[in-house]
Subunit: 275 residues, 6 copies
Amino acid sequence: MTYTPRTHRLADLTWPEIDELRPHAPVAIVPLGATEQHGLGMAQRTDTTRAEVVADMVARRLSPQVVVTPTIPVGMSEHHMAFPGTLTLSPVTLQQVVVELVTSLHRHGWRRIFVLTGHGGNNSAVDVAVSRLRAELADTHIAWSGITPVVADIVKEQGASQVRGHSCEIETSQALYVDPDLVLPERLVPGSSTLDDLDPAGRLGRSWPGIQFPQGYDALSPTGNLGNPRLATTELGALLVDTVVDRVCGFLTGLIGLPDRSPAPPPARIALETQ
Amino acid sequence: MTYTPRTHRLADLTWPEIDELRPHAPVAIVPLGATEQHGLGMAQRTDTTRAEVVADMVARRLSPQVVVTPTIPVGMSEHHMAFPGTLTLSPVTLQQVVVELVTSLHRHGWRRIFVLTGHGGNNSAVDVAVSRLRAELADTHIAWSGITPVVADIVKEQGASQVRGHSCEIETSQALYVDPDLVLPERLVPGSSTLDDLDPAGRLGRSWPGIQFPQGYDALSPTGNLGNPRLATTELGALLVDTVVDRVCGFLTGLIGLPDRSPAPPPARIALETQ
Amino acid sequence: MTYTPRTHRLADLTWPEIDELRPHAPVAIVPLGATEQHGLGMAQRTDTTRAEVVADMVARRLSPQVVVTPTIPVGMSEHHMAFPGTLTLSPVTLQQVVVELVTSLHRHGWRRIFVLTGHGGNNSAVDVAVSRLRAELADTHIAWSGITPVVADIVKEQGASQVRGHSCEIETSQALYVDPDLVLPERLVPGSSTLDDLDPAGRLGRSWPGIQFPQGYDALSPTGNLGNPRLATTELGALLVDTVVDRVCGFLTGLIGLPDRSPAPPPARIALETQ
Amino acid sequence: MTYTPRTHRLADLTWPEIDELRPHAPVAIVPLGATEQHGLGMAQRTDTTRAEVVADMVARRLSPQVVVTPTIPVGMSEHHMAFPGTLTLSPVTLQQVVVELVTSLHRHGWRRIFVLTGHGGNNSAVDVAVSRLRAELADTHIAWSGITPVVADIVKEQGASQVRGHSCEIETSQALYVDPDLVLPERLVPGSSTLDDLDPAGRLGRSWPGIQFPQGYDALSPTGNLGNPRLATTELGALLVDTVVDRVCGFLTGLIGLPDRSPAPPPARIALETQ
Amino acid sequence: MTYTPRTHRLADLTWPEIDELRPHAPVAIVPLGATEQHGLGMAQRTDTTRAEVVADMVARRLSPQVVVTPTIPVGMSEHHMAFPGTLTLSPVTLQQVVVELVTSLHRHGWRRIFVLTGHGGNNSAVDVAVSRLRAELADTHIAWSGITPVVADIVKEQGASQVRGHSCEIETSQALYVDPDLVLPERLVPGSSTLDDLDPAGRLGRSWPGIQFPQGYDALSPTGNLGNPRLATTELGALLVDTVVDRVCGFLTGLIGLPDRSPAPPPARIALETQ
Amino acid sequence: MTYTPRTHRLADLTWPEIDELRPHAPVAIVPLGATEQHGLGMAQRTDTTRAEVVADMVARRLSPQVVVTPTIPVGMSEHHMAFPGTLTLSPVTLQQVVVELVTSLHRHGWRRIFVLTGHGGNNSAVDVAVSRLRAELADTHIAWSGITPVVADIVKEQGASQVRGHSCEIETSQALYVDPDLVLPERLVPGSSTLDDLDPAGRLGRSWPGIQFPQGYDALSPTGNLGNPRLATTELGALLVDTVVDRVCGFLTGLIGLPDRSPAPPPARIALETQ
């Protein structure tokens, strides 16, 4: 257990180092990001960087038990395509990328795999990919999460704006903490922050909990963001991100402690002798 | 507005009736179900029937403004396949079915479409389908929901079991209300109802909010259900279902009141003259 | 053999009931329908209901040897899309739905499976799906049929119109017998009933047996139907449907009596020692 | 109309010749074959050659009104794979090949296209492809046929064997006529020719008209053929093939005479003003 | 080794002949062609015929060690679609066709397979297909080549034109040798033969070795060809084609001499006991 | 032209910055990498980093005319999967990723796009993607290259080993120059460097120019590399990479100077009036 790898990042290692590290590292994390508009004052790589930093922090905390794949820097961002510069994969392609990365890890022996998406727009595609992988890789434990949803309780207490979400004070605080280069503080402006700031469709979509009425961000906000990123602080970012890291580490420690997953037994056959 | 169609169900009507009804019915609902195990005492069609009945109740309430397609009686139920009788579509196929049904409605002129799934296992595939449809049908308002999540606030107050979900007192109450034939009351038994009832993986998956660690139901519960369906009552079912109907009607009324959705303008071209 | 299940419908049963029924029921039927225009006086669900009723009648007759999955209520109906209300799946998606339903049954142990389509437009997609399934499930007997083609001999004797087919006296008679609610008798009108009623392309397509020249129904008939549904009678419907049931039961009895299907042996390898 | 092209085969021409021929040749034929076992005495290319020769004969008869693409020499032959040498495409791939060839022709201006398959195993995939093409190419007349089904009436009168079909006296007669090199007469042997020659599944599959129970040919016949090819004669082949050519020419003459196909009008929109 | 088959072409043989030949013929060749414009004086089937003839010559030289499948007469020719008559498959479909043909051969026991494309436009799709097949068929040696690239050294010495390639003196010489019917000598004209003959994009694409800037042939050359086919001679064609045959035979002899390919061992599992 | 963006990396910018930069930057580069074994002494991200650095150098040189998307850090590496840690996408998925990224750029107005792959294993998938994109985006100039092939002339002069390629002195020199952290110099060892070092299949594959016989790297080299990376020098790396940058800049300058690409005119229709 005193083994210390040069790094936990699979991309930075040589294959003999990975071969040596492998038996000490039962968990692999696959971080997913996005390249999409984040309002007037935050870089397009914000989700990529948040996922990458959280994965790195978790891996360092649990070292040498966790390896991390490179972060996929594009995701499902169709709803931001009205702003120049956003790149998007279709959900089917994103699913397939996740399936193939996890399958690669499985072929090298990993049986405990965690997909971490920094971008909420990836959630459904990831969930579908994980469903497929659970069926295809019947001996593998596979889990996934976003970042902000892991601290939904804290967000509820901390967020000041009535309408929050994309590039609001919560996300901007995280960005300030994980990589201040992501933020151009002087350009931050409040986005749509109250129901009254939204257009009628956006307002309707936020008025009925449990009903999903997704909108393009061009309809939701002329600046592309919600909430008030000017309220963001590094301290809040630290609270949020450090707690996410604590909790993901807690989960992964539990995951490492589970018995190996066993495939379900093959089905019986309804044959002639049964009549 | 005093026009009354013979029924709101597209499958029960003739085409001239639909042609006549169409200008009065701006909204179409697409209900989705499942054929999957629901524990020892509930029929496999429970999700199909709940979706169908809620859709019918909404359509009657808002008549003649809503039409309803036939309910797709199978969904994404891979996680129940260890129990005999469950049928499952892959998430990619389910997505495609939803995309093609909504596209059919669009070809007949509908521009306000609501997908209602009675089965939570369909959620991600539906969400992905809706994402695709928003991009492909740029002049169409499209929304979706499940049933129980629309009344999450009531569920929180009413549920007795620590661990709830599939075929628990909440779902069984709905079944008793929408179609008592779904339930064999004498066979209802408590499923896994506390964290201690779960196996270690199931317990881990329920211990970290925001982290998704999906499990096959064979691992979660030997009977295939969670919670305690013996606590189910028709009264609770009525409260839950009637409130879902109220809220979906509220949302759809808002949806009807929205201006038509306009496609985003085409992107500019970065050509020689721009240098 | 004296075992009597509560019902043969998988959707209506609980999983323990299916588990108990399974060894007594070597055959599973997968009924397929459609939601498509059926002329001025017949409901869009006509094909769905005909498939469902025939499957139920067969299962009751052979009880407990047959189970029935829920009927898929949409099919390949592109050629009816010019009439408001028709829903259509692409043939590739329909194939995939059939493949996945049959594969689900196979996973639960069924090795004798019958796909019954109430809609002729599904035939090719079903045939392709069955071809794939024969190769993929090498231990499974799989067969399929429509409804009316099983009694082609009787149709030849009974039909009065020169041009028949969709929503003619033959199909309408079946509808009257299986579910009178399908028919609005007072609205039935003759459709294109002679070659002279067809447009030139429709006439050409019916003039050369063995040559397929499919046409949209909007080109074939302004009312969407062929033949003369006013000639339909419940008696003719009973004769047709009861004979279909007799014959499908005869076939399935033969199917139950077959030895289990064995996969073909693996191919030899052309290796070095062969030179 | 006195224009005579060097040949009707697109593959044998140069592009300027095709450009010159094009306005005189409103019809394009796409022949499809197979490479599959044809019993002990007939070559694997039998279906390819029959399709190619019939297409050539039709094109010559109607010259210069018809062009012919190269024959695709493989098809859907999964059911023959137990015999060494058979090649097979999946039905989805074969569909796609047909769709893309027809689409290529459409891009060069053809609006009357005929797919001619020499192999019955291709039928469903072709039918599905034609369905897709009718929807995608809304200005194009598209039809298809096999060879033997076009003369089903003659086959009924002429065939001697109770069980006929693949590589029987009917098909072998055609082969003798279109290309005697296809046949090794001394090796021809009777295949399964009566119901008693079939195994129980094969017998069951031929006992219920209208019910499809496809079997691998290894199960149907140890030699891979049905019927009695020793009864084949060049004279019968000439009768069958010449009649097919007559009838396809009759159909294509009708097709040329049809008005251009017009796309259906776009659907109306159910918008706010309709309430 | 003195065994002599009637022919090496799988399509021309009966299955018992293939069964007898199989142990003597460890190698199968899959030739691929195209139907695409070849300038003013060469037939559209030029690539198909070149592939077919080379495959036949190789098989005869190495008889009985090589069998040949029928040539697929269409390929990836999108870049020629501006000229009337060209047919094209999408690269994904072409890949799939190659994968399925090779897989058919594998099912009959072949473990040494060579794909020979007469059309350079097929290269990438073939390369991708071979990559997939190497992974899927882990016990099979699989290789591929074009024709002209195998004699790149001779081409470099012999070609007279500065810009060469499609339907130039090199390809036309091959055509004259393998099948003089392919060429209409009196119609041959020089195509774009110098960089100055190309449009700016075509010139740019040929100016930076290693950078791929593919162009449609309509942009490259008004006649559809490059170089000067009037310089073609049968003698040069013989030199080129005979050398290709020599070299492919050399390679295949080496391939036959290799030990059987063994699948890689399955990956280890990173399980609990490794911590 | 004196406009200077904060950076050329789309991921590092905000959307208003991209909006402002866009008219000055007609070219977008899409870099592609890989995560795959690079022998005993080089990191798995070597190809990713080389692509990224070259793209950055090109963009800085031509600033502000070029923007760069984030580098995709995984590619087609199936042939390295026998070494622990390699990740691979299927070629179909990689194609799709490229198609969707380029399509995203097109939607934001880019019409001159360059795909730069640092990994040769991606070549075929990229070439196929570019073929599709040329057809789908008919108004867009699209080109692609690798890195080392752009300086094939220098490599020919400089490489010392008979067998070179993956992780040889050429690639390692580039790595030392673009990012010394990629290399652990003390662990570099010669890989298979002569034909005699290869196994028989590897030797065969390198013996016949123009014939492709791809091998897994586990078969080619026990260390996973070819050539002799100990001969690598930063100076050689600088020569190679700087020349690649020069040449890509030369090409892109030409690309910027081209007239806009115009779609081909729509095809004529062969209609009735042509007879």
